[in-house]
């Protein structure tokens, strides 16, 4: 009886140790070469470098999910010293809400060096961004597209975004 109890206890322990973590979130880091579409809650577990052109680096693909920057950075391909050098490309966004509703981006973290907007709320309702630093993006650091509504932009820092003569900039 005692031996059986030990086997049961050992089995339970092995289940606890070997069972995979709940698949409720995705971890990302490293190099992104084509648009990464998020379908679940996601967090950065390391810095991200992005070489995507002609589209966003990261795009939301489902409503009601959150991207946690978790203290890391998302860096586009632009020059670190000059940012965009005066040339902006609207499609080359860092993070796009991509028409999804009630999605959020939470810092701390940095979104930088994209030829378009750092963070773009595109045709979304009830989105939010909080505690994120955006810098040296060629359009706006954070932009709410005219087709988006009920978006909350709170406690972020936008520094050195935009191009001279363009109606964009920090937010």
């Amino acid at each position: 009886m005692r031996a059986r109890a030990m086997v049961v206890a050992a089995s339970a322990l092995s289940v606890m140790v070997l069972a995979p973590a709940p698949a409720s979130a995705e971890d990302i880091s490293g190099l992104i070469v084509r648009t990464l579409v998020l379908s679940e809650n996601t967090r950065l577990v390391g810095d991200v470098t992005c070489t995507v052109t002609g589209g966003p680096c990261i795009a939301f693909g489902a409503p009601n999910i959150v991207l946690l920057l978790n203290g890391f950075s998302i860096t586009g391909p632009n020059n670190p010293a000059t940012g965009c050098g005066g040339t902006s490309i609207g499609t080359d966004t860092g993070i796009s809400t991509n028409g999804q509703n009630n999605v959020g981006i939470r810092g701390p973290g940095i979104v930088q060096r994209f030829a378009g907007d750092g963070i773009l709320f595109m045709a979304s309702t009830r989105g939010w961004v909080q505690g994120v630093a955006t810098t040296t993006n060629c359009m706006s650091g954070i932009r709410i597209n005219p087709t988006s509504s009920q978006v909350s932009v709170e406690s972020n820092a936008s520094v050195r975004n935009g191009a001279a003569g363009a109606a964009c900039g920090g937010i």
Binding site: G141, S155, S158, N161, A167, I171
Partner: protein, 97 residues
């Protein structure tokens, strides 16, 4: 910017413009942000006066009838927004407080 958005307690410094409200934007609340040094001095002394070619801390491109509101922002230059406004009460609260 679209409609019914909320922009609060952000810092915008050294950008080509600080905070821009698009022509069709309406019923947005812009409050307790710090928007200064837009554009940075190196740029502002070399370009035309705003808004043509230049930049400002807060630029409201919408008509007054669109009901966008500005409250307690710390800023120095603007178009169609209440700047300069440097009241100490405009300092944003800390995140989470």
């Amino acid at each position: 910017m679209g409609s019914n958005n909320f922009v609060e307690a952000n810092s915008a410094i050294g950008n080509s413009n600080g905070i821009v409200i698009f022509p069709n934007a309406n019923f947005n609340q812009i409050r307790q942000n710090i928007a200064v040094g837009n554009p940075p001095i190196q740029q502002s002394t070399s370009v035309a006066s705003p808004p043509a070619g230049g930049g400002v801390d807060i630029w409201d491109q919408s008509p007054a009838t669109n009901n966008n509101s500005f409250l307690g922002n710390m800023c120095l230059t603007s178009v169609n927004a209440p700047c300069p406004s440097v009241a100490t009460g405009a300092i944003p609260r800390r995140p989470g407080s």
